[in-house]
Amino acid sequence: MTALQSARLVKLVNRVYHNVEYYRKKMQQVGLEPGDIKGIEDITKLPFTTKNDLRDNYPFGLFAVPKTEIVRVHASSGTTGKATVVGYTRRDIEVWQECVARTISMADLGKDDIIQIAYGYGLFTGGLGAHYGAENLGATVVPMSTGNTKKLVTMMVDFGVTGIMCTPSYLLHIAEVIDEMGQMDNIKLKAAICGAEPWTEKMRLQIEEKLHIRAHDIYGLSEVMGPGVACDCKYHKGLHIAEDHFLPEIVDADTLEPVADGVTGELVFSTLTKEGIPLIRYRTKDLTSITHETCECGRTTARLSRFKGRSDDMLIIRGVNVFPSQIEAALLELGETTPHYLMIVDRVNNLDSLEVQVEVEERFFSDEIKELEKLTKKIATAIQHAIGLAVKVKLVAPKTIERSMGKSVHVIDNRKFD
């Protein structure tokens, strides 16, 4: 594996040096030539890449191939409203399919299975990523997307669906609907592959017990590829990384120095084979640890432990990446409230909810209730526009947020992840 990774890393560095001005400049700044990287042992010589770098080069600045080679783009939200855009060549799509297909095999599903994809389809990588992977494996794919849960359950029963891919919180919601519809004894589900949001071991056991299935944890992020970067096997002893395509490192989030196996730090990926938008030492901001021991399943690939949070303030709400700064920017742009806000994230009936409290200042409020209601709606629309999620807006008296929370706290997350 190391030899393959080294050969691919050398090629990757050459490719980005010659095709992406941004990387060339960055390497030149630290006096690096492509020839200085002879194998993965030299990886620490290379500079890191962050989400901000993607944003600064919006939309296509980090693409390493002519646009005619790009067959698809996906996008996710950025820290200040501008999306981060990723592009895929035909070969990238093939690799992605293969990686997702591997994760589905790891969940013991194959070409004889009927798999419902209940991630959102669109710019988000979840829906299409899972879809192509399952199709590539030869399974029968039912592209449900999200929204109509009753219809999903009806089809799950009528079609004899055996596998499902969706967020873990949505699966718990689906389980409740199955119960309500009295269909628990009529489903043929064997396994679920869940991801796109943090979840706990407890939640996995809850899902498995409720639905009498195996639930697998799939990891990925659009910048690196999408779902399928890593997934756990039936022993659930960490997520096997598709190491032949994604070279992992764990570094200390503050010093950025590599840490030993088993030590928690920030996960960093270099995309060894990616053509469209190859990334060198991309900082995922996800906190986890790594192990290189052989798994009980016999696989020798490196494994990630369950994710322990983020090294930045990004929240994942209903599978959507949300940065508090996006809310602040939306409020400032609206200009009809103070930019003082408090986000309260909760999980009610297994679905994430987001309430945003906004302080009402003397100059912004009205003596008429209907004007205040109009203002509330306007704020909710502006925030929804910025983050792509419906929110409940609550007007509160001035200074209440700062007084009770201290100036820098903008988020109360009542969901339990450990």
Partner: protein
């Protein structure tokens, strides 16, 4: 011909009203009338007081959202039919009422009004010879 109403944004929680009335008392401000419009999450307190400017200033200093709004105060005599006369004039001029509330001191009864066309309301009331209270009279009511 308008009078100043002191409007305060209130969160629905224990003690928010008391905080406001305490500040008004400390500043020797008399409250002639009070009305609360509420939703499930917050309320708007509307008041006619003896010194609205001072009231607003002191409340804002205490970090409370308060502002002044122009409203119309109509004197109501204590006899049958005064309200009917008032609303006939307003409806007759095709004016919509945003909100209203009553006010009574030992000697004077009045209706506080905010309409969708305040200037037009004044003109219609004057034409109908309905007694509108001005600021000077208002803030020195007994």
């Amino acid at each position: 011909m308008f009078v100043k109403q002191l409007t305060v944004f209130l969160e629905n929680k224990v003690g928010s009203l008391q905080e406001i009335t305490d500040i008004l008392r400390e500043n020797n401000i008399n409250v002639f009338s009070i009305s609360l419009a509420d939703t499930s999450e917050y309320g708007l307190l509307r008041m006619i007081v003896s010194n609205p400017e001072l009231g607003r200033e002191q409340l804002c200093n205490a970090g409370i959202s308060a502002r002044l709004t122009d409203v119309i105060a109509v004197r109501l005599e204590n006899r049958v039919g005064t309200l009917a006369e008032l609303f006939n004039v307003i409806a007759g001029a095709d004016i919509g009422i945003e909100y209203m509330y009553a006010m009574a001191t030992s000697k004077t009864g009045a209706m506080i009004l905010k309409t969708n066309n305040q200037e037009k309301t004044i003109a219609a009331l004057q034409a109908a010879r309905i007694h509108i209270l001005d600021e000077n009279t208002m803030y020195h009511l007994q």
